[in-house]
Symmetry: C2
């Protein structure tokens, strides 16, 4: 097995011990609260990562692209939710998965689209499994749970001959705007209560609502009350990142994905260094700017005083508020960077190097594209 | 040939007519000023794109990764400059290319590294072709042209038995901070004069400086005076993007790369739509924030009043200062987005769809990784 010194940089390293710990903690949390864990695979997009996320207790996954659906279906996964609102152009493929897997859930929050989905289903002899996303405050997708239209849409789906209404689903992405565990707990409890109230409203309207699914790493880590929730769909926790550290969801040592980079330039006059991780290795995600308006582009584990203050395509610009001791960082020396946002960073790498300490023990190949 | 309606979105479309026009304009400009065009291929990373950039007048390229070097070497390219400062870990591969290609230039701005490169070269019987980058104000890589150390380093390289000093090279990345063609012309003239003064200083020190290479799309488009410059290395111009449009380097219709996306959600209450191009399709590059502090994440050609005000991994959030006419954008309908920064956006796509009008006429596969 190679040492990391042999790796072409930049590279994405996976600390297997941290990843396993993150995965097992979420499995335990789900089991403890009697929740079904349907982990999101979008953060890593690998077969190996999903295996750790599921353990031997769970089997269903959440995907963010049809490319992921294909990849995991080919590997034998039989139960997945495609957690992006469906559009008519994607129905052929959705129908294929619906027919060939045990469960393939689609998301639908619009009555016009539901008409098109119904027409398609009738014509193509398929019964879609439909989840209705609910906007619990994130203002991304979802019906307004206070609106009459929301009930009407679910009613229409529930009564359709070519749709199985699977349940309601939310993503409390606004938990990312929190600054502490206490704030995240409030968002989680808001989300839970909005979802449970809406599910009960459906039931009072004679609509069976078998599943109530929520998900976001911060709320799944810090949520205290789970009554009425049946399923969670977190994803980022498998790697965590600087963002999650900054809002109090994890510690630096929990961050399982780091970018390995090398120093490639010394500029003592400007008290600057260059590294070979640029925007194509770190992504230009700015991280938790609501906590620190200028956090830079990642956390250099070897010396948190160093700041990645800028990126060009293949260069990272490193500065420091105190004098850099350049002898500590000879050109060619390695640095480990916790990325601001591991989902976007990991997506930039054609493969991940899995490490135990300084030894590469495996390589994982993620799926890409759409 | 398929129509674009058949493409899975998000997708990267290349308008071949615009690309060809961009390529030919730069070739003409180089020929007119008797400059060698050594285009940077980092923006597209395809064989087809390089062919258009070079035309039948030029043959040498600039690469930003060793993966690009491998890819183009395998395709028969024999003359390239690897335009990122070399570090010791990359010498094995650099030596391989040096021995197997006609020309493989490396960048070196540090005397300690030059010592290591010399030791390596002696041990491995290779003579490296070395370019010395000069910092003309961008403060990325490069020697300080006013320093004695800069002359001393070039002297050392020039006199070495295991290095061929090829010339000096700069990248006026600070031209990106300009707001107009006139400002860019000033940066270009500053760069030219700094480089020519430094080259002449080397010559007065009995160092032959055969090549003086500069490059950046803005300065190569707007630079007026080229005396003393021998080579240009622009890259972004092949696609252009919203950034280049905003600083006056091109027009919207010159932008050859657009992200094709579909509307996947309507939220009239919030006057919002969702599209299926998220951060993994557009990149989180914020664009020309020195001109517009909140430009959003791209320019929707169908309606520039629409603003992509946020991105999650696979969702784009579209809003508008006036009421959106949702009937104009039914769910599933297509939108074309000029990205903020085409280099980072293109790098997210496993393939590009080349179009003439609404017809896909080709697919190009870029090289990825490092």
């Amino acid at each position: 097995m190679d040492k990391i010194e042999k790796i072409r940089t930049p590279a994405l390293l996976i600390n297997l011990a941290a990843l396993r710990n993150n995965a097992e903690s979420m499995i335990e949390r789900a089991c403890w609260h009697s929740l079904k864990l349907r982990p999101h695979v979008k953060t890593h997009k690998t077969l190996e990562g999903a295996r750790y996320q599921l353990g031997d207790r769970f089997h269903a996954i959440t995907v963010s692209t049809l490319a992921e659906a294909r990849f995991y279906a080919d590997a034998g996964y039989k139960d997945m939710t495609y957690a992006v609102p469906i559009s008519p152009d994607k129905l052929d493929e959705a129908a294929y998965f619906t027919k060939n897997l045990d469960h393939f859930g689609i998301l639908l929050d619009n009555p016009d689209i539901f008409e098109k989905v119904e027409a398609y289903a009738l014509q193509n002899d398929v019964t879609f499994e439909v989840w209705v996303p609910v906007d619990t405050g994130n203002h991304r997708e979802g019906v307004d749970p206070l609106s009459y239209d929301a009930i009407a849409l679910v009613h229409q789906i529930f009564n359709s001959d070519v749709a199985n209404f699977k349940g309601i689903l939310s993503h409390a992405g606004h938990a990312y705007s929190c600054k502490s565990a206490a704030e995240i707990q409030n968002v989680a409890e808001d989300e839970r209560s909005i979802m449970v109230v809406f599910a009960n409203k459906l039931r009072r309207n004679n609509i069976a609502c078998p599943a109530v699914s929520v998900g976001s790493t911060p709320t799944c880590v810090h949520g205290k009350y789970w009554e009425g929730i049946t399923e969670i769909r977190p994803g980022n926790y498998i790697f965590f990142d600087l963002y999650m550290t900054s809002i109090g969801v994890c510690q630096h040592e929990d961050c399982a994905a780091t970018v390995l980079t090398r120093v490639i330039g010394h500029y003592p006059k400007g008290n600057r260094m260059l590294i070979d991780a640029g925007a194509l290795a770190l992504s230009k995600d700015r991280g938790p700017i609501h906590i620190n308006p200028d956090p830079g582009y990642g956390y250099i584990k070897e010396n948190p005083n160093l700041k990645i203050h800028g990126l060009s395509q293949e260069h990272g610009f490193v500065s420091c508020q105190i004098q850099i001791d350049f002898k500590q960082y000879p050109i060619g020396s390695l640095l480990h960077i916790i990325p601001n946002h591991s989902c976007l960073t990991a997506a930039l790498f054609p493969e991940y190097h899995v490490v135990e300490g300084d030894t590469v023990i495996d390589q994982w190949k993620p799926v890409r594209g759409w």
